[in-house]
């Protein structure tokens, strides 16, 4: 029976949300939209767990001496923050929530190619999470999220095994997601959806999936060797038995640099969807944006050595990795130019998603440029392992990836929940987040270059002013993160119902009712033109068709 006729209990058309309310219906559902919601809930939980850990750290750092928590607890807190934020929040954040939810809909498919593998990948994520939570409860791990040997294998007496096993398992969850997205993008595009008509978000998911599939196994090997050495006592990285501690760093960073591209590419995909919609213009240089994303995903594998400039790597390798790191910065620069150029001759409106997207472009530019500093060997020698590098990667990951995540949340919230959200609150939260973020991390650039090392519980007193500023900023940022939790929960139950296409965006996901029915489309859609056909040639100032105004404001049933 076609779902259009299917009625949910209260007579409204059946949607994926009203398609079963028991816990079992959620935990065993292979509907890509439900799995996206499962991921969203678990990722938000881990985001706040990591946030609490760093909240305590920032409070401790207000004073130069170690007086809030002991040195050991301090080390376990920042390690927990690192592990949880990287592997349990940032890597899965956009691909597993918005990628899962939107990829099939954007290419006109009913579901991902392998629905059961998709559910299995969530269970792998939960299993990895349980290992990490066990490691936390049992006493925490104090090796830093980088697990450097020989400290992690021989000198740490914390729960390295449990934490490493947690990351090992969650790695396979992202490999499974990667396999699913690649096969879906290849095999399940609807009629007319050629490769060059794919929305850039789909291209971002496709490029990210290859990075996930190719990079994650090497991390699994590195952690497997650490676990083997710690548990079985087999001397692989043990320096006295001929092992080389740098070998672990090579294997670890072979994954961890592509991992930062796993974190930023989806964010680029989201912003590439939002800018055209709110500027009412076709994206500028669609082909260049696609080639740039693929180039970032490929060259991302050549540059890991810039994390090891001071680690005892040979001078020749330093130069090679420095050169390749400059090359990989070029595609990112191109994308920033293209986003800015998309605004030219547009009809720009400033709803909350656009606020976050503009914030993304600004902060990602600063993050990218400081990346150039760190690609230069002499500058990196002074700046690595200091707060300069901490500020750099937070500008990219928090300023970039998390801003884009909130942009995506607000942009697709009507489609996912069938409700609007309070616009004024959302814009206020966006502005608060932008200032809270800069307030927190800009002082870290300054004290980093002055020589404030990272992972210090107590520090030379001359840096206190910057730490106090940074901690104050962290409070503002924490408030800015709690706001959306508040008003979005309120909006889910009280906000007016969302129409089919509140932003008048192009893209197949906006042709379905909000929230969409279990199998997305009644009949498989046919596509006959490129993704962002926003800008009719000669339209004057009022770009939107007449009837659009009232329909969006009115809370149509």
């Amino acid at each position: 029976m076609s779902q259009a006729a299917a009625q949910a209990a209260d007579g409204r058309p059946l949607t994926y949300l009203s398609n079963g309310f028991t816990l079992r219906s959620w935990l065993t559902s292979t509907d890509h939209k439900r799995i996206a919601i499962l991921y969203a809930v678990s990722i938000t939980a881990f985001f706040f767990l990591g946030g609490i850990a760093i909240g305590i750290v920032r409070l401790e750092l207000v004073t130069p001496t170690q007086d809030l928590v002991s040195a050991d607890t301090y080390n376990r807190l920042f390690t927990l923050h690192g592990i949880v934020m990287v592997w349990f929040f940032l890597v899965p954040s956009i691909p597993t929530t918005f990628g899962n939810f939107l990829l099939p809909m954007m290419i006109g498919a009913k579901d991902l190619a392998m629905p059961r593998l998709n559910l299995f990948s969530w269970y792998l994520y939960v299993a990895g999470g349980l290992f990490t939570v066990y490691a936390l409860i049992a006493g925490g791990v104090d090796t830093g999220w980088t697990f450097y040997t020989p400290f992690s294998t021989m000198f740490s007496n914390s729960h390295v095994l449990a934490a490493a096993m947690g990351v090992f398992v969650v790695g396979f969850s992202s490999v499974a997601t990667g396999i699913n997205f690649i096969v879906t993008t290849h095999m399940m595009r609807t009629r007319g959806m050629t490769w060059m008509r794919l929305p850039l978000f789909v291209w971002a998911m496709y490029a990210t999936s290859f990075v996930m599939v190719l990079a994650t196994p090497v991390l699994s090997v590195a952690l497997l060797l650490v676990m083997a050495e710690r548990w079985l006592g087999v001397p692989i990285f043990n320096p006295t038995h001929g092992g080389d501690p740098l070998l672990f760093q090579h294997l670890f960073w072979f994954y961890s640099h592509p991992a930062v591209y796993i974190m930023i590419l989806p964010a680029m995909g989201v912003v590439s969807e939002i800018f055209p919609c709110f500027a009412r213009r076709r994206i500028f240089g669609y082909q260049f944006m696609v080639y740039a994303m693929v180039a970032i995903a490929v060259i991302g594998f050549f540059v890991w050595g810039h994390h090891m400039f001071v680690s005892g790597q040979s001078g020749y390798a330093n130069l090679v990795f420095s050169f390749l790191s400059f090359v990989v910065a070029v595609p990112s620069a191109i994308k920033v130019f293209n986003w800015t150029a998309t605004l030219y001759r547009g009809q720009i409106t400033f709803e909350a998603p656009m606020f976050y997207a503009i914030g993304f472009v600004g902060l990602f530019t600063i993050g990218g440029l400081t990346g150039l500093f760190l690609a230069t060997v002499p500058i990196d020698i002074q700046a690595t392992d200091t707060y300069f590098v901490v500020a750099h990667f937070h500008y990219i990951m928090v300023g970039g990836s998390v801003s884009a995540l909130f942009a995506a949340i607000h942009f697709w919230w009507p489609k996912m929940t069938g409700r609007m959200y309070p616009e004024i609150w959302a814009r206020f939260a966006a502005i608060l987040m932008f200032f809270g973020f800069n307030f927190t991390f800009f002082p870290q650039f300054i004290m980093g270059w002055m020589g404030m090392p990272r992972r210090y519980g107590s520090y030379p007193p001359e840096f206190q002013i910057y730490h106090v500023l940074s901690s104050a900023g962290a409070l503002v940022l924490a408030a800015a993160y709690l706001l959306p939790l508040g008003y979005l929960t309120w909006a889910y139950f009280r906000a007016p119902r969302a129409p089919r296409n509140p932003w008048h965006a192009t893209g197949l996901e906006w042709t379905t009712p909000s929230p969409p029915p279990p199998l997305n489309f009644d009949a498989p859609p046919v596509v006959n033109e490129g993704p962002y056909h926003y800008h009719p040639a000669e339209v004057g100032p009022e770009a939107r068709p007449e009837g659009a105004e009232d329909e969006q404001r009115a809370s149509s049933a």
Partner: protein
């Protein structure tokens, strides 16, 4: 492809797909992408092995000299033959040769179990020759203990993959014997075949890295 309840036969075609050949093409591509990640998994291990061998060449040669070439070669022959029988099973299944396919699958499982048995005997012998890294390790050279660390980790990980392969093929036999029609259409057969051949490929490289360096010359 979990088998459905005992009464109704498992259907090969699954929810989002309408056309079985497209689904089989997707399953094969999905398995190839998984094999890509397996290549990187074992590739990372081989890279670590090669780096350590370049740092301690004498120790690795001494360690490899201790590894039992006879067991290694037998296992390699067993695995190559099992890869043959698996390929013949995969080719026979869609050609409606359901009996032949089941026979080859059984041969594959038998050869796989033989491999595990030989590997078990080799491990037992290694333990008696105190070749497990630790205080009582037999060889004095620097790097020999590291060689055997790689030996145990790499062959152990390979054995896990081999065990998973034997389970997967056994499942094909169990379901295939009851529902011949499923065996001839299900994409699981070709996917398992690809997985099995990759486990064979990984062993071939392992064989060269572990058993050959210590010989002759």
């Amino acid at each position: 492809m979990t088998a459905s309840t005992a009464s109704s036969p498992p259907v090969a075609l699954h929810e989002p797909w309408e056309d079985l050949s497209r689904q089989r093409q997707a399953a094969t591509m999905g398995m190839w992408i998984f094999l890509l990640s397996e290549m990187l998994l074992f590739g990372g291990l081989f890279a670590a092995y090669t780096v350590c061998r370049s740092l301690n060449p004498m120790g690795f040669r001494a360690g490899s000299h201790e590894a039992d070439l006879v067991y290694g070669t037998i296992n390699t022959v067993l695995l190559i033959t099992s890869s043959l029988t698996m390929t013949l099973a995969v080719r026979a299944a869609p050609a409606r040769l359901h009996k032949v396919a089941l026979g080859f699958l059984a041969a594959t499982v038998a050869l796989g179990l033989a491999f595990l048995a030989v590997k078990g005997m080799e491990y037992h012998e290694d333990l008696t020759k105190s070749l497990f890294p630790g205080p009582g390790f037999k060889l004095p050279q620097q790097g020999a203990e590291q060689f055997f660390s790689f030996y145990w980790v790499m062959t152990g990980l390979h054995m896990l993959h081999m065990t998973a392969g034997v389970i997967a093929v056994s499942r094909l036999i169990v379901v295939g014997r009851r529902y011949p029609e499923w065996l001839e259409t299900s994409p699981a057969v070709e996917a398992t075949g690809l997985y099995w051949s990759l486990v064979d490929v990984i062993w071939m490289i392992l064989y060269v890295l572990i058993y050959l360096p210590g010989r002759g010359g």
